[in-house]
C-alpha cells in the first residue's frame, strides 16, 4: 500500500465538522470518486467525527490518499483519547446506543464504506479506520 498524499485535522468543536467534511470532499474529488461514493464517504466521516466529539470531546483525523494494486482510495483514521468502548462487538450491533442517538452510528457507518476497522482500549481511547475505494468496491 502506498500513501500518495496526507493531511491531519484536529477536531475539537462542532464548528470543525463542516471544514473537515469539505476536506474529505477535496480528497475524494482529487482521485475522481463518483458523487454517490463521495456522499457515502463524507456521511460516514461525519458520523464518526460526531461520535468523537460526543463521547471523547474531540480528537484528530488523518486523511490519506492511498493506492493498493491498481486501486486508489481515501483512508481516514479517527483517533481520540476518550473513555474507549468496553464492548466493541455490542457497539457494532444495529440499534445499540449508550447516548441519546438513534443507535445507527457504527453499524450504519460501516455499511457506507468499503473497509472499516475499530480498535478501542477502555481508559485510553478509540481508533477507527475507514477506507473507501474510488470505484466503491
Amino acid at each position: 500500500m502506498i500513501v500518495m498524499s496526507k493531511d491531519t485535522m484536529q477536531i475539537v468543536r462542532e464548528q470543525d465538522v463542516v471544514p473537515f467534511r469539505n476536506r474529505v470532499r477535496e480528497f475524494s474529488t482529487k482521485i475522481g470518486m463518483s458523487l454517490v461514493n463521495q456522499t457515502k464517504l463524507i456521511t460516514a466521516a461525519s458520523e464518526l467525527v460526531r461520535n468523537m466529539l460526543k463521547y471523547a470531546g474531540g480528537g484528530k483525523v488523518l486523511l490519506e490518499i492511498i493506492s493498493k494494486n491498481t486501486q486508489t482510495g481515501v483512508r481516514l483514521t479517527f483517533t481520540d483519547e476518550g473513555p474507549g468502548i468496553a464492548d466493541v462487538q455490542q457497539a457494532m450491533r444495529d440499534g445499540f446506543s449508550t447516548g441519546k442517538s438513534l443507535g445507527l452510528g457504527l453499524p450504519g457507518t460501516k455499511r457506507l464504506v468499503n473497509e472499516f476497522d475499530i480498535k478501542s482500549i477502555v481508559g485510553e481511547g478509540t481508533t477507527v479506520t475507514i477506507i473507501h475505494w474510488k470505484n466503491g468496491r
Binding site: V17, V18, R21, I42, R50, D94, L102, L104, L112
Partner: protein, 135 residues
C-alpha cells in the same frame, strides 16, 4: 448569529437550506420553525434541501423532529429536492425519515401540502354538515 430564513406564503412556511448545516444552525432552525408555526398558525412546512449535499443521522433526526413537532402543532411537513446520492446514502445508513413526507421538487411539495390541507378542510366541512343534520 447566522440564521436560515423562513418565508411565509399563504398558509405555508418555506425554508430553503443552501448552506452546509452545522449543529447549532440546525437546532436554531428547528426552534425558529416551530415558533413560526405557532405564531402564524401555518398549516404546512416545506423544506427544500436540494442544495444540501450531506444528510447524516443528526441532520436526519432534525428533519424528523421538525415533522413531529409541526404535526403536534397541526401543520404537515414536506421535505423536497433530496439529491439522489443523499437518498442512497440515507437508506444504507439505516435512516428512512419515517413520518416525514417527501416530494421530488418544490412544485410537487406544494401540491402535496395543498392536498393534505384540502382533505383536512373537506373532512371538517363534512363533519359540520353531519352535525347540522343531527340537529
Amino acid at each position: 448569529m447566522e440564521r436560515i430564513p423562513i418565508l411565509k406564503m399563504g398558509p405555508f412556511l418555506l425554508v430553503t437550506i443552501q448552506v452546509d448545516l452545522y449543529d447549532r444552525l440546525a437546532l436554531t432552525l428547528e426552534n425558529d420553525l416551530i415558533s413560526m408555526v405557532s405564531k402564524t398558525g401555518a398549516r404546512g412546512v416545506l423544506i427544500d434541501i436540494s442544495a444540501v449535499s450531506i444528510v447524516d443521522s443528526f441532520m436526519g433526526r432534525i428533519l424528523g423532529n421538525i415533522a413531529s413537532m409541526s404535526r403536534i402543532m397541526d401543520a404537515e411537513t414536506v421535505v423536497v429536492g433530496m439529491q439522489p446520492a443523499v437518498a442512497i446514502t440515507l437508506v444504507e445508513l439505516g435512516l428512512t425519515l419515517q413520518g416525514v413526507y417527501t416530494a421530488l421538487n418544490v412544485e410537487k411539495g406544494m401540491e402535496l401540502l395543498n392536498t393534505k390541507i384540502g382533505l383536512d378542510l373537506a373532512a371538517e366541512e363534512e363533519k359540520d354538515e353531519q352535525e347540522e343534520e343531527a340537529e
